[in-house]
Structure formats: structure tokens, C-alpha cells
Symmetry: C2
Subunit: 312 residues, 2 copies
């Protein structure tokens, strides 16, 4: 990426608004595709209250669109849709692509890169994880509370000059960004936390601290983590020893935290069940790894989601 | 039992207050052991609003006690404690026993009769299930909403003259009561409903109708029921074909209902986890029946209960 690259942000909720906003703040040519928030941002612009420094754009300084067909082709497509909207990949991303466009998904969970690769070719695709505490207070108003590092990597293979250029672009725009030697390692590492704390948090309606306040809770969370680690191993990703204890210890130090899936449950929004629970479960089943805890959490989460898509 | 039999009610919450009250209303010599509600009932007496006809007792017409050592020996001890208080069996029941006292537990779940039998001898023990919708509105004020049938049987063996006499006593006191040919059959039949709807209802904080509103929910509830039926079979109890479908159909017709364990969760009271989930799970494990759904629900319920007693 260069300073002249054209960047399209698909799904400008809190993550898309924040990271796309930082790039625009630092002079990049960023075009935002919005859906539900379009009218509000058209009127009010974008405001970000951030622990790394506030910034805002009046409407006339923002390139926003409510229809992808009105947008220019992009050098980099930044995908920040909620993973429950992945059925819209084809219609929302295809029109933005030219010969050498790259696609970077910062979405939660497993399977997003693979699905993008199936649709648009693996050589275009990068994946990244945003380690960030961020809320959308209302349309166009984002509160960046803490952290913010992005870790990204190529879907096909290891580090690349392209990944390094994208990381440099973020690092020059107040966003700490690291290139992962192995994206799958990073994804599975994050799932070891996400599956118990998002999964149990949502189905039991418990904050992170409630889940590990008792020995029974630490045992249950540890069992789920062990299932994820065994599944990762079967998928060829060897996670480090002592990971379970380390993640529980770090989570204890966080205090009461509501995972995104718990917040989605409480606010009646769709939960990212397939990306966070269903895809890893399918990997486990295909590899013949027994994951009874994950099976149960997934089954319960599907009941709560209510919409009953085809089962894993 | 005869009209002159002395009846002790141990644990006079809604179930003990209602059934003991009906017997007292019909001229039986009923003595109530109360704990937290003693002072209020001492002042205000007992009031029952019942779909089968209201009744009440002023304090001076009630035989109530706050200490079992002040009570006379009983011909029949009616145990209506919450199953979370079963550690108090020895101290609350032993002082009431004479040579031929019978003990009838109307508590929820599995294992109550066995534990009573271990402490006091199996020949004394009967078990019963109260099929009743009942609430304690405040100390001494009970609201009997619907149903009310008791089904009871001997812990050791089949029907007995004693069981028949107890049933006749209830039937003559406005309480429909049937003698079960096989108490264990009745217990397991009830567990087929209780385990999914109390268990999932509590850990997911869902009413019965929410649990079976989707195909995913019907599937999850059915899987749990199938685990209970398989466990019952391994324990020598053959439940009827078509039971899962029938129970789900009946539950659909009930509308929104909060199970007792869900209510306990919401009000912060201890849930009857061991009686409803833990004991059946131990039976499954000992018989080598795989019950992954029950394992998961039990583990989650223990986390919510917070008190972390020794694990099953």
C-alpha cells in the first residue's frame, strides 16, 4: 500500500469506523460503505472518542456510500462486517475488486478468510485480529476504550511484502500493527479465549469474572479451552504449553467484562455463533476430536439466536 | 395412618405449608417445623389461596415449632425441605422418629429416598412427587395456582398397605393422591422433564417456551431427554416409547413457564442442582451411559450456584 492507495471499508461499525477513520485522519483515501448508519453519518459525520486521541470528520470530509455500486475500485478492501453478515460478501465486495485488489478481514472467529478465498481467490486475502475494546455509542459516534493492536497475516502462506506494507500503513496512522508469521496460529490462539468467554458468557449470560469466580467455573472454562487446543493441534496448529492457566490468569485481572456475544444476547442482536463456535466445531468434527463442551455451548447458543440456520 | 396419627411437616415452605395445611384443615394432628418463616407465622398464622378452595389458620390454631427438639414423636414425617438442605436430615428428622414412624419425602429430584434410607432405614421411607404449581408469596402466605396431585410409593418394593393408607388420608383431605406401583419409574419419568427444563432453564435463563421455540431448541431438549431415558434404562427403568415427543408437546401447550431452578437463579437462591442434575448424572456415570449434554448443563449450573460443593 502507498499513500495513494484507495481503501474501501466494508461495514463501518465501530471497528471499521475506527480503523478506517485513523487511516483517513492520516491522509489516506478511505471510502466507507455504510448500511444502517448511512443517514446519520451523512448528517452528523463521524466522531471518535479514543484513548489514543479523539478525532472527527464533518460529513463533507468523509467519503461515504450507501451502495457499493457507487464506489470506486479499491486497492485494499477492509472487511469489518459482523460475521453474521458473511452471506453478503459476494454482493458487497465483488464490485470493489480490480486485478490486484487485496482484501483484509478484521472479523471475529474462524472461516472468514477461507470463505473470502473461495469467492475471490486466496491470493487476495489477508486476515487480521483487532485486539481492541471499542463501542459504537450511536450511529457515527464511536468510543475507543482501550488497546487497539492489529495482528495480521496472509491467508496463503507466511509473511509477505504486502502484509508488511499494510502493517506500515497502520503503524504510521496511530494503529499498532504486527505481521503474524502464521495467521492460523493467531486465529486459534484467540479462539482459546473467545470460545469459552464469548460462548459461555452468552449462553449463561455471565460476565468474564462470574465465569471464573469459582473452582467449578475455572474447571469448565479450562475444559473448553483444552478442547479448542486439541482441535487446533488436529488442524496442525501447536499452541504453547501453559496457555490455559495464562489466559485464565489474564482474564482474572480484567475484572468484569461483557463479551461481544453476551452484549449481543442482551441487546437482542444476532450473535456471531458460526464464526466463533460453529466453524471451530466443524474443524473438530472433521478431525475426529471430541469436544462435548463446545458441542453443548454451540447447541445452546443456537437456541438463543432463535433464527435456526442450518446446523453444523 | 389414622385420624389420630401424628404428622410432622419438616420444611414448611409452600409445599409443606399447603399439604400439611390441607391435612390440618381436615382434622389431622399436624405439627410444623419452620425455620426462616417461624416468627412471621407465629404472628400472622397461615393463609392459603388455593384453586381448590382457600383456607387459613390463625396462629393459635397452628402447632408450629422453631426447634425439632420441642416436637412430639411422629407417626408420619412429611419431608418438604428444599433438596439443597438435605445435609440437615439427621438433625431435623432423627428426633421425630419412634419405632414405627414412616418418612415421606415430597422433595424434588433423585437420591432423597436413598439418603433417608441410609440414615434411618429403608423400611421407613416412602417417596412422592407433588405435581403442583405453587408459590410462597411471603412467609405464611401461599398461593396454590394449579394442579396438586401427589404420586407416592415405597422406597423398598411395590405398593403397600401403608402407602395406601397415606394416599387415602390425602384423598380425604382435598388432595388427589395415587400410589405408584414403582416409585423409581415415577422419579425417572419426572426427571425426563425436569432435567432439560429446570437445567437448561436455569443455565440459559430461559422460560420453557423459549427453550422449545426453535428447531434447535427442540433438538437440544430432545437430546437431553434421550440421555435421561438411556440412563433410566441402564438403571432398570424402562420408560415408554414416544415420551420425548409427548413431553415436548405438553410443554408447548403450557405457554411461558419459569422452572423452579430458573426462579432460584433469578432470586439468588440455591438451586437444587444435585437432586435434579447431579444424582442422575452419577447414575449415568456409574452405568457407563454417555450423557455429554447433561454433563455440560451440570457443570454450568454449578458455576452459577457459586458455592462449589464437591463435584459429582
Amino acid at each position: 500500500m502507498t499513500q495513494n492507495s484507495l481503501i474501501a471499508v466494508v461495514g463501518a461499525g465501530s471497528v471499521g469506523g475506527y480503523y478506517g477513520g485513523r487511516l483517513a485522519e492520516h491522509g489516506h483515501d478511505v471510502h466507507f460503505l455504510l448500511r444502517s448508519d448511512y443517514q446519520a453519518v451523512r448528517r452528523e459525520g463521524l466522531q471518535v472518542r479514543s484513548c489514543h486521541g479523539d478525532f472527527s470528520f464533518p460529513p463533507e470530509k468523509l467519503r461515504i456510500y450507501d451502495d457499493v455500486r457507487k464506489m470506486p475500485k479499491a486497492d485494499l478492501v477492509l472487511v469489518t462486517l459482523k460475521a453474521t453478515s458473511n452471506d453478503a460478501y459476494e454482493s458487497l465486495i465483488r464490485p470493489l475488486l480490480k486485478e490486484d485488489s487485496a482484501i483484509l478481514t478484521l472479523q471475529n472467529g474462524l472461516g472468514n478468510e477461507r470463505r473470502l478465498a473461495e469467492l475471490f481467490g486466496g491470493r487476495r486475502v489477508l486476515g487480521g485480529m483487532a485486539f481492541v475494546c471499542i463501542n459504537r455509542l450511536k450511529p457515527g459516534v464511536i468510543h475507543h476504550i482501550d488497546h487497539g493492536t492489529i495482528r495480521l497475516g496472509e491467508f496463503d502462506g507466511g509473511p509477505s511484502p504486502r502484509a508488511t506494507r499494510i502493517a506500515e500503513m497502520f503503524n504510521a496512522s496511530k494503529v499498532k500493527c504486527e505481521v503474524l508469521p502464521d495467521l492460523r496460529y493467531g486465529r486459534w490462539l484467540k479462539l482459546v479465549w473467545n470460545i469459552p468467554f464469548n460462548g459461555l458468557g452468552a449462553v449463561m449470560d455471565c460476565t468474564t469474572d462470574q465465569l471464573i469466580a469459582t473452582e467449578a467455573g475455572v474447571r469448565l472454562v479450562s475444559e473448553l479451552m483444552a478442547e479448542v487446543i486439541a482441535t487446533a493441534r488436529a488442524a496442525g496448529v501447536q499452541l504453547p504449553d501453559g496457555l490455559v492457566e495464562k489466559q485464565i490468569e489474564q482474564t482474572l485481572s480484567m475484572g468484569a467484562y461483557k463479551s461481544s456475544m453476551q452484549v449481543d444476547r442482551e441487546t437482542g442482536r444476532p450473535m456471531e455463533i458460526e464464526a466463533i463456535l460453529g466453524e471451530p466445531l466443524r474443524v473438530a468434527r472433521e478431525a475426529g476430536v471430541r469436544t462435548p463442551r463446545l458441542e453443548a455451548v454451540y447447541a445452546m447458543a443456537r437456541v438463543l439466536n432463535g433464527d435456526d440456520p442450518p446446523a453444523a
